[in-house]
């Protein structure tokens, strides 16, 4: 063991203390009862209808916004293909996407309250000009359906960020080869581009799913009461220990989230490895 190995120690200690330990605590408390003994009772809470409904809602919301975000985002990437990579259009779109995807959070809740809140700009315009009351069946903005539009709003930019490198790596020689061999535009897209891009697209789709599934800030700001999705249920469990009359519920929910994330991210890294073949 060379002395230089000690140089690795500070980082190793830091990662153990602030990544490994918290993760193990988060997941491990799901297996502990009130006295600190081992139990599977709390894990059985994952089968509770309230918890299952929250997981169902989270997965539904994440899947819906991931699919819409992926399709719209891919279209934007396609439209950006002709723009110079270092040109003003691309760098503006890149920066805007990063701001919305990484910085939006709580502010998106403000934005959508100002847009489709009860006094929102779009709400009022629709009401006064067209006589359409979007809240005729009750105010849905502060419920689960209200999360769909804000989530799409940060999913599309994330798709642009993650899918653009894949689309940009399509080689123009492939299109030329296709044309030389008498292929048409549609044969180029169907036989060459789509098969090459499919792993990247599906990978990005999974990443978008994971992104929505683990997102907290927008939902927490928009929905101040209730626990419609899993992250909000963790909030309730952390702030009041009595939810469902069980201790350590936050740990159990964390365990459930980690399981879903593990499946999704494993799929993501498999697809990324496949996609990398064509990106050299």
């Amino acid at each position: 063991m060379p002395a230089a190995a000690f140089g690795l120690l500070p980082f190793a200690v830091y990662v153990v203390l602030f990544l490994a330990v918290p993760t193990l605590i988060a997941v491990g408390t799901g297996f502990l009862d009130t006295d600190g003994g081992f139990t599977l009772d709390t894990v059985a809470t994952l089968g509770d209808p309230v918890v299952l409904t929250a997981f169902g809602s989270s997965i539904w919301l994440s899947a819906l916004t991931a699919v819409i975000g992926a399709v719209v985002g891919a279209l934007v990437c396609y439209a950006l293909l002709g723009a110079a990579p270092d040109g003003p259009l691309r760098s503006t779109v890149d920066s805007l996407s990063s701001v919305i995807a990484q910085f939006g959070g709580a502010m998106l809740a403000f934005a959508f309250t100002a847009t489709i809140g009860i006094q929102g700009m779009v709400t009022l315009v629709l009401q006064e000009r067209l006589g359409i009351d979007i809240f005729a069946d009750g105010v849905w903005l502060y419920e689960l359906p209200g999360l769909v539009l804000p989530y799409i709003y940060f999913q599309v930019p994330l798709m642009v960020i993650t899918f653009m490198p894949a689309l940009a790596s399509l080689k123009s020689t492939w299109a030329e080869a296709n044309a030389t061999l008498g292929g048409t535009t549609s044969s180029y897209w169907l036989r060459i581009a789509v098969p090459v891009l499919a792993p990247s697209f599906l990978g990005s789709l999974l990443l978008l799913f994971a992104n929505a599934f683990s997102s907290y800030a927008t939902a927490a700001t928009l929905i101040s009461q209730g626990a419609q999705i899993v992250p909000l249920q963790i909030r309730s469990a952390l702030t009041s220990e009595t939810m469902l009359g069980r201790e350590n519920l936050a740990g159990t929910l964390a365990l459930g989230m980690i399981l879903v994330m593990a499946v999704v991210m494993t799929g993501y890294s498999r697809l990324q490895a496949r996609a990398a073949r064509w990106q050299r």
Binding site: G7, A79, G105, A217, M257, M265
Partner: protein, 297 residues
């Protein structure tokens, strides 16, 4: 969609100008609506209707007083946290990456997995385990807001790692180190006078992305009851939505400019090239803003 492939800007499969304008115009137009709605909201005069800019002028002239004050304090906290997080990246991550690269190449894969792992762990999950850890930290070091930087160092790890690694891949660290050592340089000057200047772009990009992530962080601060920019904006938003929306617009604009700077740093050109004599020049660094990581707003 019939006929041959058009060639736009040298890319044979790119859409024509009408299709491009249509898609970008449509999506851009729809995405502009919430931002415009925020602006419209802040310009409302009140119950009487009509528009003026009095909320903006009052806020900007009032300066450090009133509703703005807690947000400015919180902005100070966030900037401090950003500095602390960048220090963690510089002091802990960068030397470790270099050490692994030079002396323990077999650990590279392990380091990569550790650094990318936080993507798969939602902040909301991490916070469940961080709460007990931070109660220990609070007992030992006090419960100052700065301690959050220890958690943020973890959340920025994937972003910082990718930015720095993509630079590292393009620099022949081994040769540079051996040359410097042969010429009699100590490890300190190898690190500070040879390697860091060569990795300047990656380190800068990693630091900028860390700053952007920290300034946008809400989940951990909110659930550990610490005040940062985002949590303060939400608190203000409950009492005075107009001020909160104005401040959000300013924050979004500043963040946009910040990321525009990052994008330029990531672009493989500019002054940094001439100072990188022994780099495999033709390895375009992917824009560090384009790290495909979970954003978790």
């Amino acid at each position: 969609m019939s006929g041959g492939l058009r060639s736009v800007g040298g890319v044979a499969h790119a859409p024509g100008r009408p299709a491009r304008t249509l898609i970008l115009g449509l999506v851009g137009g729809i995405f502009a609506v919430p931002i415009l709605a925020m602006v419209e909201f802040t310009l409302r005069r009140g119950l009487a209707g009509g528009y003026d800019v009095h909320r903006w002028t009052e806020l900007l002239q009032g300066g450090l007083t009133g509703e703005c004050r807690p947000v400015l304090v919180a902005l100070g906290n966030s900037v401090g946290l950003a500095v602390g997080t960048v220090l963690i990246v510089l002091v802990l991550l960068v030397p470790t990456m270099l050490l692994v690269h030079i002396r323990f190449p077999r650990l590279r894969r392990v380091l990569e997995i550790v650094c990318i792992l936080p993507i798969s762990i939602p902040a909301i999950v991490l916070v469940v385990g961080l709460a007990p850890v931070f109660s220990v930290v609070a007992r030992v070091f006090g419960s100052g807001v700065w301690s959050l930087a220890l958690a943020y160092g973890i959340t920025v790890l994937p972003f910082a790692y990718r930015a720095i690694q993509s630079n590292l891949d393009g620099v022949d660290v081994r040769t540079l180190t051996e040359a410097a050592r042969t010429l009699g340089a100590g490890w300190g000057s190898v690190l500070l006078r040879v390697l860091v200047p060569n990795l300047r772009r990656g380190i800068l990009a990693g630091a900028f992305i860390a700053v952007a992530v920290v300034l946008g962080e809400f989940t951990i601060a909110s659930l550990l009851n610490r005040v940062n920019l985002q949590t303060a904006l939400v608190v203000v938003g409950k009492n005075d939505p107009y001020t909160a929306v104005i401040l959000s617009l300013i924050a979004l604009f500043v963040a946009f400019l910040l990321l525009l700077v990052i994008g330029r740093l990531g672009a493989p050109r500019g002054t940094s090239r001439r100072r990188r004599p022994i780099s495999r020049a033709a390895s375009p660094t992917p824009s560090p803003t384009a790290t495909p990581t979970g954003a978790r707003p």
